[in-house]
Amino acid sequence: MAVGQRTPDDASAPAQGWGLNTWDSPWLNFKFLLGAGIVLLILLFGLVGPFFWDTDLAYTGAGPLNKPPVWAEGGLPEHPLGTESNGRDMLAQLILATPSSLKVGFLAAIIGMGIGMALGSVAGYVGGWWDHVIRTLSDSAVTIPALVVLVVIASYVQMTDTTAMALILALFAWPGPTRLVRSQVLTLRERSYVRMAHLSGASALEIMFVEMLPNMLPWLAASLTGGISAAILGATGLEVLGLGPTRVPSLGLIINQATTNAALVRGLVWWWLPPIIILMVIFVGFFLMTIGLDEIANPRIRQFSSTRRERTAAGELPPVEPVEDGTAGEEEAALEVDDLHVHYFTPRGEVIAANGVNFSVRKGEILGLVGESGCGKTTVAMAILQVVQPPGRIVQGAVRIEERDLVSLSGRDLRRVRWRDLALVPQGAMNSLNPVTPIREQMADAILAHENIGRAELEQRILNLLNDVGLPERVIDMFPHELSGGMKQRVCIAMSIALNPQVIIADEPTSALDVVVQRVVAQTLLEVKERLGVSMVMIGHDMGLQAQLVDRIAVMYAGNLVEVAPVESAFAEPLHPYTQLLIESIPSIRERKPLNVTEGLTHDLRDPPPGCIFQFRCKHVERICRERRPELVERDDDHLVACWLYEPERHSLIELEEA
């Protein structure tokens, strides 16, 4: 039975980008784990400490005054970290102060998160007036200078314990989560599965907690860790100023006492430095957790940061030796894909997504790559650009541009070739535009990531690009949400041609657009091709559109190319049974044909059968088809097919051999 893995297609769908039950557990993010480890260690120090050290030593008069740590001259083993001017033991103080500082942070952030979740979900879910009021409140709350107000409040309110402190800090911890939850709810409520739950009669609460909440977790967690460190920072600030509770030890209080006792000038380093170090470590820990969680929540951040780095790496390309190869084609190739194998190494086995894919794109031509979803089209596109997503990997093969094999390039060289020579209009590109950033900035980012040019030139360049794809100039100042689908898609095309590539790979550039807009976008692609003289790979599953647009067509089935031919002969005389099926099942407006219902992919991509890949669905299957894989060979002029039907000679030869 067909097993559909997650395909790169849904990478653009945010809340689906993580999920504990997918192949790689997203929590296994190095930064997150490292940060969590650090925070855990600090926590342990405070929790386990009292069992090993007498915390009564933290109070006045417990020991001698101003003793340095044990390793310094004059240090005492009874006070390993020394004592301060009141004779309190430093280690005991730190053991007590650390958890109390953490507690304030956790408490304040959790209260803030609780308020945020309540308000945010009401705003997002109920909307209308509620939304307006809550949004205004939270928006104005973030503009208040928190520390100043905190200081004012704290100097009026006598704080007795950490809980009171946490409550005051929570006043500033709710707007962030509120805004976050609101925007998450607004996005998630449009998701089909949430609407489905609604149709299934689920109540608002059930939808919020069962359907939405799990999908927000990484965002909430990132907001929480960020909130905790902000609250600790606020609390420490107040304590240092002496505005915190004075009876409970806290890291800020130690610093406060150290400064009021002039520890700095008196050289009592062991008094003021340790709490600062612990605070730093705590902040580093939470910071790592927060950015780790951000990466988990938005898997794309990592990708973007690598393109930023390219900006600095503007060195010249080192010469690359041309690859010795006898396959110099009859016609000049702009791009050659040679015996490409891509596998996804999933815990449940190896998905063979591209199996010996071979084709070339000639200069100035449009090559169509068609096949049903999951057959490996996107994988091939990604492999050409060397951006196959893990757990996928190119296990064999070459991708050549001007004799240079991209598979063997790495790092900087590869990145340069990748965007200079090759450009990608990814699947669902228009949905990957950031809705809240103006077009100008997004296009500038794309250009500046690879080139260093001045402002005026940049502006002109962007305007020219917009013009190239037939968009009016004022689009430059618009936001993606103000544009129609077709316009967004054209912005993406403009971005892809920004660096004058030689080959553009467009992955389903017009799917999800209606016919009129589809036609406009297709026209745009044709014009761009003519004007820039680029070559193009057009990935798609709409055979009608392929007929209109491409010069040659390559048909893919379950990771294998089964037919490559000039588009006229592919339509006039499709050779492979699968291509025939594709062409027969094009819906027509000329006649009402009965539906041609066939099974989809019938085998598991992790377990391809020996022999022909199409054997389970083929009407003409014979014994040989089950035993040997037919090769892609030229049958007609420039018309290649992988099917035993067209190889009677070899077929009988093999039978003879076997007999």
């Binding site: 599965y193 299934s200 009669g201 599953h541 594709l582 819906p587």
Partner: protein, 334 residues
């Protein structure tokens, strides 16, 4: 509200208008997503009614209205003669159960957190469809069989472990489980390819013929509508441009916009290439087009090759041309 004598339509939409934004809190005028839309859908014979139009034409707004996700700013939506906003508790439950949906994206219809079973449990629980576990299991199995699936194959799996085709079929099974009278199918085959498309369209036909379920088939793809649809309404910027029998409209489109739509369907023959370029005026493609408030005159004016002076004055009314075939275009005013 029921008129005796005449059969009450299953779904009746009367002059429904849906505006977004605007209001005194906003500086912008509202966007009219759907403008005075009317439709009668009868329970029998069950029919597939296509709502066609480009993205942003109001198709999904219409789906959301019928599904009760939003309520119209003006006009009425009646289910079995009762306005959706006046349904009592019991009627509401019936309506919820009897009006179901299939959505476009087979990747998005399942919460990635739960096994497929969750989807079925949800409906089972809220509509109390079964007495006990056994009956529950049987009903689910039965629904899955209708779409050619087996329970042990999929119920315990997570959505990402199913192929797109399986997911889409599970969605149909879920809807079928509720024995709906009407299924709103919002672009159910736009994101799938040939083999799957045919399979899903075929299931829709079977549900119509064997189980008497009506469909609102929402699509931008006229060719699949032609294959399975009975009636058709073509929307343009929230306005009904043309309505009638599917065959009539496809073979003999009257509205200049519908003609353009049909001409834009790529011909699956490389020898017959698109001859002329079409140009959308830049304004036309922008949603902010409606920014000056409800525009007067025909909304297709800027793109229309046949535009006349009169077209600028008022939105043309629906003018009957033949039988139930009607067009909103002054060219047909006699």
């Amino acid at each position: 509200m029921t008129q005796p004598g005449k059969a009450e339509p299953l779904l009746r939409i009367r002059d429904a208008t849906m505006e977004f934004g605007g209001g005194f809190l906003s500086s912008q005028p509202p966007l009219v997503a759907l403008d005075s839309f009317s439709l009668d859908l009868h329970e029998s014979p069950a029919q597939i009614t296509t709502i066609a139009g480009e993205s942003g034409s109001g198709k999904t707004t219409l789906a959301n209205l019928v599904l009760g996700f939003i309520s119209p700013t003006q006009g009425q939506i009646l289910y079995k003669g009762v306005d959706l906003s006046q349904l009592d508790r019991k009627q509401r439950l019936t309506y919820r159960q009897e009006v179901q949906a299939i959505f476009q994206d087979p990747y998005d219809v399942f919460n990635p957190f739960f096994r497929i079973q969750h989807t079925f449990n949800l409906v089972m629980r809220h509509f109390a469809l079964a007495q006990d576990k056994l009956e529950r299991r049987e009903l689910i199995e039965d629904a899955l069989n209708v779409v050619g699936l087996r329970g042990d194959e999929i119920l315990e799996k997570y959505p990402h472990q199913l192929s797109g085709g399986q997911r889409q079929r599970v969605m149909v099974a879920r809807a079928y489980l509720l024995r709906p009278r009407l299924i709103v199918a919002d672009e159910p085959v736009s994101a799938v390819d040939a083999s799957l498309r045919a399979m899903i369209l075929d299931i829709m036909l079977r549900l119509r013929d064997e189980h008497g379920i009506s469909f609102l088939y929402i699509t931008h793809d006229l060719s699949t509508a032609y294959q399975i649809g009975d009636n058709m309404i073509v929307l343009f910027q929230g306005i009904t441009a043309e309505t009638g029998d599917t065959g009539q409209i496809i073979q003999n489109p009257q509205h200049p916009y519908v003609q353009e739509l049909i001409n834009s369907i790529p011909v699956p023959d490389p020898k017959i290439k698109w001859d002329t370029d079409i140009r959308l005026p830049a304004e036309e493609t922008m949603r902010s087009q409606n920014a000056e408030g409800a525009p007067r005159g025909c909304r297709f004016y800027q793109r229309c090759p046949h535009r006349m002076d009169i077209c600028l004055e008022n939105q043309p009314p629906l003018i009957p041309v033949e039988g139930q075939h009607a067009v909103a275009c002054y060219l047909y005013e006699s």
